[in-house]
C-alpha cells in the first residue's frame, strides 16, 4: 500500500484528467446534497461527502441511450446501419464500496452470462475506478448486511482509505500500479494493512442499530424469498403501498432492466434507443395482443425483491443483488424500500 497526502489528491485528479473524463461526488450548491456527476473542475470533488444520491450506474448504463442508428430508403431498398460509438474513457473517483459492488454485479450480469452485452462492454472497457472507504457509515446504509462495504475488496484500480489526515492507497490493477508509480507515491510499509483494518473495523462498529439488527434478518428474508414461503397477504400489503413509479429500480446500483424503442428522427434516420425500465410496471411484461402473464402489482413487487435477494439471482451476481446503499428507501413514495420489506417479512416470521 501507498500513502496519498491530501495535497496529492489534486495531482492524482489532474493526472487522471489527462486521459479520462472525471466523475465523482460533488455537492449541489443550493440543496447541499451530493450527486455523482461529471466534474468540470477538480475542486468539485468531495471525497468526504456522504454516499451520493445517484449511483454511478448511469455512466455505464445510461438512462437514455442510442445504441444503433439506421436509415432505410423504401424506394431504393437501401439500408445503412451504424453502431453509435461516442464513448470517451472515464475515471470514476470516490466510488463508495456499495456502488463499486453494484458495478461488479452489472459486470457479471452484462458480461458474464451466456451472451455478452456489447453496448455495456463498450462503456466498461475504458474505465478507471478509484474507490473510497466509508470511514463512518451514513444514516440509511446497511452494506454490512449485504457484504458490500464499508470498504471495497476488489474491482478497483485504486482504493483510498482515509487514515488520519492522509489516504492509504491500495492498488487493484496494473493500471492502478502504473498510476501510483507515475505519481511517485510513498510506500506505506507492512503495517498499512493493519491500519486499514482498524479504520474499517471502527466503521463497521459504528453502524446504526437498524443495520446491525437487519443483518440476520436479511439472510432469513433471502431464505424465504428463495423458497417462496411468504404469505400472499404480505405482498398484497406491500403492493397496496406501491405507487408504481419505478424509482426503486432506477436508483438501484444493480437493477439493469431496460426497454428498447426505435425512434424516428426528423432527418429520416431511426435511432434504436435503450432506456431504463422497471419490473414494477404493468406494461413491462405485457405482450402485443391481449395477454399479460404478470398482473397484480404485488406480483411485480415480489419479482423485484426476488431479484434483489434470492439465492438463484445471487448466483448470477456472485453476491446478493442488494448492495445495502439504502437509496430505494429514500426515493420510494410508498415507503417500501428494501429495508422496510425485510421488516415486513420479519414481522410475518415473528408474528409481531
Amino acid at each position: 500500500m501507498y500513502w496519498l497526502e491530501q495535497s496529492q489528491v489534486e495531482m492524482l485528479l489532474s493526472k487522471l484528467a489527462e486521459n479520462y473524463e472525471l466523475f465523482g461526488p460533488r455537492r449541489d450548491e443550493v440543496s447541499g446534497e451530493v450527486i455523482f456527476d461529471r466534474l468540470e473542475d477538480l475542486h468539485q470533488l468531495d471525497l468526504s461527502a456522504p454516499i451520493p444520491y445517484n449511483p454511478p450506474k448511469y455512466i455505464l448504463f445510461p438512462h437514455y441511450e442510442e445504441i444503433l442508428k439506421y436509415r432505410y430508403n423504401r424506394k431504393t431498398k437501401e439500408v445503412a446501419i451504424e453502431r453509435i460509438n461516442h464513448l470517451k474513457p472515464k475515471a470514476l473517483v470516490g466510488l463508495r464500496a456499495c456502488d463499486l459492488n453494484g458495478l461488479m454485479c452489472l459486470d457479471r450480469f452484462f458480461l458474464g452470462q451466456e451472451f455478452v452485452d456489447e453496448i455495456y462492454l463498450e462503456h466498461r472497457k475504458k474505465l478507471f475506478l478509484v474507490s473510497n472507504t466509508c470511514v463512518r457509515p451514513f444514516p440509511q446504509c446497511f452494506c454490512v448486511c449485504t457484504d458490500s462495504g464499508p470498504a471495497a475488496r476488489e474491482g478497483f484500480d485504486l482504493d483510498l482509505t482515509l487514515a488520519g489526515e492522509r489516504y492509504l492507497v491500495e492498488v487493484g490493477s496494473k493500471k492502478g500500479q502504473k498510476m501510483v508509480e507515475e505519481l511517485g507515491l510513498k510506500e506505506a510499509g507492512p503495517e498499512a494493512a493493519g491500519w486499514k483494518k482498524k479504520v474499517v473495523d471502527e466503521s463497521v462498529s459504528s453502524f446504526d442499530a437498524f443495520a446491525v439488527e437487519n443483518k440476520a434478518w436479511i439472510s432469513r428474508a433471502t431464505n424465504r424469498l428463495t423458497t417462496g414461503f411468504i404469505k400472499p397477504e404480505v405482498w398484497e400489503f406491500i403492493g397496496n403501498q406501491c405507487f408504481e413509479c419505478g424509482a426503486c429500480s432506477f436508483v438501484c446500483p444493480t437493477c439493469s432492466c431496460f426497454n428498447v424503442e426505435d425512434v424516428n428522427r426528423l432527418d429520416g434516420t431511426t435511432d434504436r434507443v435503450r432506456t431504463w425500465d422497471s419490473c414494477s410496471f404493468e406494461g413491462y411484461t405485457k405482450m402485443a395482443g391481449d395477454h399479460n402473464p404478470r398482473k397484480p402489482v404485488e406480483d411485480r413487487r415480489n419479482k423485484r425483491f426476488f431479484c434483489k435477494l434470492s439465492y438463484s439471482q445471487s448466483k448470477k451476481y456472485l453476491r446478493p443483488g442488494c448492495v445495502g446503499c439504502g437509496r430505494c428507501a429514500r426515493v420510494c413514495p410508498g415507503d417500501i424500500g428494501l429495508p422496510n420489506v425485510v421488516t415486513y417479512i420479519r414481522r410475518e416470521i415473528t408474528g409481531e
Binding site: S31, Y64, V273, T275, F281, G283, D290, C332, P333, D335
Partner: protein, 672 residues
C-alpha cells in the same frame, strides 16, 4: 456537470429534479435530493420527463396557413402577419386560451396582451375551473385564494382528510407525504365514492353516494356543534357570520343526511371526534377534473372554520392543483374575472390601478371564458391559444369558422391543424421561468438547453406582437417580466430572480412583512375576519337524482390514471408512460366502464362484455370491467380514453364542468 437543478413541469406538485444534459440535449432525469417538498422523490411521470423533452414531435418553426395549407415562414414574417390581422379586431371579437403549464412570466404577459393590447377580458384556461372556484370560496371565506398552509408541517399532523379524487394518481408525491404522515401516526381519512389507492392507505374510508359529499361535511359540522365542541369565543373573535352558520346547522336533519349519503352514523361520529380533537389537521382536495363543486368546497371550508383549524396554525385547507402552474396561472389573472393578484375586473379601483401600471386603457366589461365565447359569442372572430395540452378540442366546428387562430406551441398538437398562424415555443427546459405549485411555492426553473434559433420564448414573441401593435413593450429577459410582476402582484412583491436562484422555491405572499415567504395563513397576517361561506342551494343532487332514477338508475363518475391525466397529449410523446397507458387499455381497447360485482351478476354481465351506456343526451358502447372499487348502483369511467371523450363525455360537458361531485345518471344495456 451533466446534472442541472430544475422543477418538474407535469403536475402541480412542483417536485425538484435534476436534468442530465449532454451536448445540448436532455439525456436523463433524477430526483433532486433535499428539495423541501419532494425530498428526492418523483412519480412515474416525473421519472420520464426526459423522454418528452427529447421527442422529435416538436413545433420547430413558424407557419402561416395559405389556401388551406400550412407554409413554413420566418418567425418575424409570421408575427408580422399575425399583427396585421390582430390590428383589425376589437376586444369582443377575440378570445385567449391560456396554458396552465406555461411559466408565470409567459402567462402574465399573455394576460396583459389580452387586456392591455387587445382590450379583451375573454381570457381563460381550457379546464380546471375547479381551481378558480376553489379560489373564490377561499377568498370569500378568508381573503386568501389558495392553500392556507403548506406541506412543511404535515409530518406532525395528527389528522388528515382527503376529499375526492385519487391523489396517489394525480399528485403522487403529495399522496406520498400524506402516506408518510400516516406512518408517523396521523389519522388519515378519505372521502370518495370509489375505492382508490388513497382510500386503501387510509384508516377510514367513507363512501358517500356520488353528489352527497357536501352533506357529509355539513353533518360532521352538525355533530361537532351538537357535541358542544365548538369554541364560540374563537368564532366570535375571528369570524363575521358564525351565528348564521350555526342557525343553518341547527336546521339540518341528520337522519335524512345519513339516509341520502348512505354513511353510518358511527363512522361520522368517529371522524367528527378525530377532527375536533386534532391538534394539527389538514384537508386536501384536488382541483382538476376531479375537483369538488363549489357547495362541497364551501361546506369543507366551513367545517374547518367551525373546528378552529384555520388562522391559528392548527391546520389548513390544501387544494391540490393537477397541472404544474395552475395556481400561478390564476395568480397571473388568467380568468375573465380576475386580474393579476386576484383583483377583479368588476372593481373600478382595480381597473384604475392596472391602467396606471400598464399605462393604457383596459376594458371594463367582464369577459367570458373561451368555451363560453365559442358557444355563445356570435361576434367572435379570432382565438389566441398557448400550448393546448389536450388531444380533444371542444367546439371544433366553431373554431373552424373563425377567421384567425394563432397557436403558440412547443409540441405538435391537434390544435395546430386548426391554426392559421403557428408560433413555436421552447419547452420548459429551454427557457427561464417561474412556476407556482399548489402550496404557493414559486420556483425558478432555469434554461438548460438552447432551443432552435426560430424558437423564442412566449414573453418575447408577445412583446414583438405588442410592439407591432403600437405598444411600448421592452422586455429583455424573463427576469425583467418577473420584476414587473413583483410590482403588479402584491403576493409576489418580494420576489426576485436573485432570491429565487439561491432557494428551492419561496411560498407567496412574499412581501415586506414576509421577506422569506409564508408557510401558513395566520389571522394576524390577515387583518380581516373570516366568513362562513353560505350557499343558497341546499337541495342535494341526490335528491334530484331520485326523480330520474327510474329511467337512469346508475350514477356515473369519472376519474384519472397515473400515466395520463386529461387526454394529455404530452404523455403520448414518452415511451414508458405511454406503454403503461396502453397496457391499461390492452384488455379494453375501446375503453371500459367499471361496475360492481353485485350489479354485474344481477345484470348477468361477464368481464369485458360490451355494454351500452346511455345518458339523457348521449350513448356509448364500452367493455364492462368488473371492479371491487365501485359500489353497487355506481359506475366509473376513466377520463382519459381518447375515443370516449368526444363520443360521450363532451356531449354532456355542462354536467361535467360541475366537477366530480356531480355525476351523470345513466342506464346500462347489454349489447347483443
Amino acid at each position: 456537470m451533466p446534472y442541472y437543478r430544475g422543477v418538474c413541469n407535469f403536475c402541480g406538485t412542483g417536485c425538484g429534479h435534476l436534468l442530465q444534459v449532454e451536448e445540448g440535449r436532455v439525456r436523463g432525469v433524477y430526483p433532486l435530493p433535499g428539495h423541501p417538498l419532494s425530498q428526492g422523490r418523483l412519480c412515474v411521470r416525473g421519472w420520464h420527463i426526459h423522454e418528452l423533452l427529447q421527442t422529435e414531435e416538436r413545433i420547430t418553426g413558424a407557419f402561416i396557413r395559405e389556401n388551406g395549407q400550412l407554409r413554413q415562414v420566418a418567425l418575424n414574417e409570421a408575427l408580422a402577419y399575425a399583427a396585421k390581422k390582430l390590428q383589425k379586431l376589437s376586444g369582443e371579437e377575440i378570445a385567449f386560451l391560456a396554458s396552465p403549464r406555461a411559466s408565470n412570466e409567459d402567462n402574465y404577459l399573455f394576460g396583459k396582451f389580452a387586456r392591455a393590447v387587445m382590450k379583451s377580458n375573454n381570457l381563460s384556461l381550457a379546464s380546471d375551473a375547479g381551481q378558480e372556484e376553489s379560489a373564490r370560496v377561499l377568498l370569500e371565506g378568508c381573503g386568501w385564494p389558495a392553500a392556507t398552509d403548506s406541506l412543511s408541517r404535515l409530518k406532525q399532523a395528527d389528522f388528515i382528510l382527503v376529499a375526492g379524487g385519487d391523489l396517489t394518481r394525480q399528485n403522487p408525491i403529495v399522496a406520498s407525504e400524506i402516506h408518510r404522515a400516516r406512518r408517523a401516526g396521523a389519522f388519515v381519512a378519505t372521502i370518495s365514492p370509489r375505492k382508490t389507492q388513497m382510500a386503501r392507505l387510509s384508516r377510514l374510508h367513507l363512501r358517500p353516494a356520488p353528489g352527497t359529499m357536501a352533506l357529509v361535511f355539513e353533518a360532521l359540522a352538525r355533530i361537532i356543534y351538537e357535541e358542544k365542541k365548538v369554541d364560540l369565543e374563537y368564532l366570535n373573535k375571528s369570524t363575521e357570520n358564525y351565528q348564521d352558520y350555526l342557525n343553518y346547522l341547527e336546521k339540518i336533519n341528520l337522519e335524512e343526511i345519513l339516509d341520502l349519503t348512505g354513511i353510518a352514523r358511527e363512522a361520522l361520529t368517529e371522524l367528527a371526534g378525530r377532527l375536533s380533537s386534532a391538534k394539527l389537521a389538514y384537508v386536501f382536495y384536488p382541483t382538476g377534473v376531479q375537483s369538488l363543486d363549489r357547495r362541497t368546497m364551501a361546506a369543507l371550508f366551513n367545517l374547518m372554520l367551525i373546528t378552529g383549524k384555520l388562522g391559528q396554525g392548527e391546520g389548513g385547507i390544501i387544494p391540490v392543483a393537477g397541472l404544474s402552474n395552475l395556481l400561478g396561472s390564476y395568480d397571473m389573472g388568467l380568468s375573465p374575472d380576475f386580474l393579476p393578484g386576484y383583483l377583479r375586473v368588476a372593481d373600478e379601483n382595480s381597473c384604475q390601478k392596472f391602467e396606471e401600471l400598464w399605462q393604457t386603457k383596459i376594458n371594463r366589461t367582464p369577459g367570458k371564458s373561451v368555451s363560453a365565447n365559442l358557444a355563445e359569442n356570435k361576434s367572435l372572430r379570432a382565438l389566441m391559444v398557448v400550448d393546448h395540452d389536450e388531444e380533444i378540442i371542444r367546439n371544433v366546428s366553431r373554431i373552424k369558422e373563425l377567421e384567425l387562430v394563432i397557436y403558440f406551441g412547443a409540441y405538435q398538437n391537434a390544435f395546430a391543424r386548426l391554426a392559421n398562424v403557428i408560433i413555436p415555443r421552447p419547452s420548459y427546459a429551454e427557457a427561464d421561468g417561474t412556476y407556482t405549485n399548489f402550496e404557493r411555492r414559486v420556483q425558478l426553473n432555469r434554461q438548460k438547453v438552447k432551443p432552435l434559433a426560430e424558437v423564442q420564448p412566449l414573453w418575447k414573441t408577445l412583446s414583438w406582437l405588442a410592439q407591432a401593435l403600437g405598444h411600448n413593450w421592452h422586455y429583455e429577459s424573463a427576469e425583467q417580466v418577473m420584476a414587473e410582476i413583483s410590482r403588479v402582484v402584491p403576493q409576489y412583491s418580494g420576489l426576485t430572480y436573485e432570491k429565487l436562484d439561491s432557494s428551492l422555491g419561496i411560498k407567496w405572499p412574499v412581501d415586506e412583512r414576509h421577506p422569506e415567504g409564508t408557510d401558513c395563513l395566520l389571522l394576524k397576517q390577515n387583518n380581516a375576519k373570516f366568513r362562513f361561506v353560505l350557499e343558497e342551494k341546499s337541495l342535494s343532487q341526490s335528491a334530484l337524482f331520485a326523480e330520474k332514477s327510474t329511467n337512469f338508475p346508475f350514477k356515473l363518475t369519472v376519474g384519472r390514471s397515473n400515466y395520463f391525466w386529461h387526454q394529455n397529449s404530452v404523455m403520448k410523446r414518452t415511451f414508458i408512460p405511454k406503454r403503461e397507458y396502453n397496457a391499461l387499455l390492452l384488455l379494453y381497447p375501446k375503453g371500459f366502464v367499471e361496475i360492481s360485482a353485485e350489479d354485474a351478476s344481477r345484470l348477468n354481465l361477464r368481464e369485458k362484455q360490451l355494454v351500452r351506456l346511455i345518458s339523457e343526451s348521449a350513448e356509448i358502447t364500452l367493455a364492462a370491467r368488473i371492479s371491487p372499487d365501485v359500489l353497487p348502483g355506481q359506475l366509473y369511467i376513466p377520463y382519459f380514453v381518447e375515443e370516449m371523450i368526444p363520443e360521450f363525455l363532451l356531449r354532456q360537458v355542462a354536467e361535467l364542468e360541475k366537477n366530480e361531485e356531480y355525476f351523470l345518471p345513466v342506464k346500462l344495456e347489454k349489447v347483443g
